[in-house]
């Protein structure tokens, strides 16, 4: 499971333990292996799972816009009050799904959450931003994205792993949800960063100046 999503799942379970949430549903879009990810979520304390089956070439071109549409549709069908996701996936680092899902639903969003509290029927969320921390209030229903310091997910122990086996996972397809997964972006190339060149050790500063002049770095 993507580490930020793990943090999101852990937070959802804690909200349930604090009686802020009543039921937690985990969603995963992908091939058959997604069921394993859902079982992990169930072992962490999620009540039930929904597997949106996407495989083969359709999966290769699945992008945040498609996932956002899927999540938005499911949020409406399930009458969710909070959609919580990891802030970004560690494969593409897009950091788009939470924001787009909120826009599609026309819900408020609280991204990069490092603390979530409920006060007077609203969520008070502390966000990690460049300058430090920002605390905002959002009305429910809302979309939240989890940042690194929100919590530390607990390791799933055997009793929870076993209980997860009995929890239900429903399987649906993007088509069932009325979502078209045709690619909207074409990936032209993916390259590794250039390998680092070996350095040279010089005996003194004069030699350094000679080398810098040779390389055209200094007049």
């Amino acid at each position: 499971m993507n580490p930020f999503d793990e943090i999101a799942v852990e937070e959802a379970v804690r909200l349930k333990e604090k009686k802020i949430a009543q039921e937690i549903v985990a969603v995963s879009c992908g091939p058959a292996q997604s069921q394993e990810t859902l079982r992990t979520a169930l072992a962490m304390g999620v009540d039930r799972g929904i597997h949106v089956e996407v495989s083969g070439p359709e999966y290769d071109t699945l992008q945040p816009i498609h996932v956002s549409k899927i999540l938005a549709k499911l949020a409406q069908d399930e009458k969710a009050d909070i959609v919580i996701v990891g802030k970004q996936a560690i494969d593409d680092d897009s950091n788009q799904t939470a924001q787009m899902t909120a826009a599609l639903l026309d819900w408020p969003q609280a991204t990069f959450a490092s603390k979530i509290e409920k006060q007077n029927g609203e969520l008070q969320v502390t966000r990690e931003i460049d300058g430090g921390l920002e605390t905002i209030k959002v009305k429910l229903p809302a979309v939240v994205s989890a940042d690194l310091r929100l919590n530390e997910p607990r390791y799933a122990t055997l009793p929870n792993i076993m209980k997860a086996k009995k929890k239900p996972i429903k399987k649906v397809s993007p088509k069932d949800l009325g979502v078209d997964t045709a690619a909207r972006i074409e990936v032209l190339s993916v390259e590794d960063p250039p390998t680092r060149q070996a350095g040279v050790i010089l005996p003194d500063v004069d030699q350094l100046i000679v080398k810098l002049k040779e390389g055209g770095h200094v007049q």
Binding site: E17, K19, G45, R48, L158, N160, K165
Partner: protein
């Protein structure tokens, strides 16, 4: 121990081997809502607590944990022994046998613990002996079957999903009548909340002890319901 692979149920040589395995991998625990009852359980003290379901010597050892619904039903029975006087009790999905043991200790006439897992059957017998009570064990799947032999049914933690819950309720509706007592324990699963008709009356609510919260992430309470 490291070389032990998951044993298939068919290859278990005898109840003696199973009993030895159970003793090896569990501790006798009273760290739960019914400390009057001793049970062979896998706790944080055991190696298997952090095990993966695929590399342990048992297949789905549900009997090795004392689930919250079961704890609530057993607690309720021990606190209200008058309900068990003279009863012929069936404990469905008995697991460790805790509710069955609670019923016997509270004055039931006889008790049958029902669990389709043969390893659970051994665990139940061991736990009954530990608590000096006699319990019959039945390994047949009784859900849906006629239950005229009994006038009390106990269920803990059975309402996992909507489909099985519907099956269970259909069976229980056929069983219920004024002279029969049906008690169901659950930590508040959604499948129970979604039941439309009001056939269930809540009779008790308990806060779960820390050990139960650790084993059942997401739950902090368990309730007992009486089927009317």
């Amino acid at each position: 121990m490291a070389s032990l692979r998951r044993l298939s149920i068919q290859s278990l040589a005898s109840g003696f081997t199973t009993a030895r395995l159970i003793k090896q991998h569990t501790v006798i625990s009273t760290d739960h809502m019914t400390p009057e009852i001793k049970l062979h359980l896998i706790t944080p003290l055991c190696e298997l607590w952090t095990g993966n379901a695929d590399n342990i010597p048992f297949q789905d050892p549900f009997w090795a944990f004392y689930w919250p619904g079961g704890q609530a039903v057993a607690r309720y029975i021990l606190d209200n022994p008058q309900l068990m006087q003279g009863r012929r009790v069936l404990d469905v999905g008995s697991g460790s046998g805790a509710c069955a043991i609670a019923a016997m200790k509270s004055g039931a006439l006889n008790v049958t613990a029902n669990d389709i897992d043969p390893v659970a059957a051994t665990a139940i017998k061991m736990n009954a002996a530990l608590n000096a009570v006699n319990i019959d064990v039945c390994k047949k799947n009784l859900v849906g079957e006629s239950c005229d032999k009994w006038n009390c049914i106990l269920l803990g933690d059975m309402v996992y999903d909507a489909e099985f819950t519907a099956q269970l309720l259909k069976w229980l509706r056929a069983f219920r009548c004024q002279r029969r007592l049906i008690l169901l324990g659950d930590p508040g699963r959604q499948a129970l909340r979604d039941i439309e008709d009001n056939c269930l009356t809540k009779v008790a609510t308990y806060c779960l002890p820390k050990s139960a919260c650790l084993e059942n992430r997401g739950f902090t309470q368990a309730c007992v319901w009486r089927f009317m």
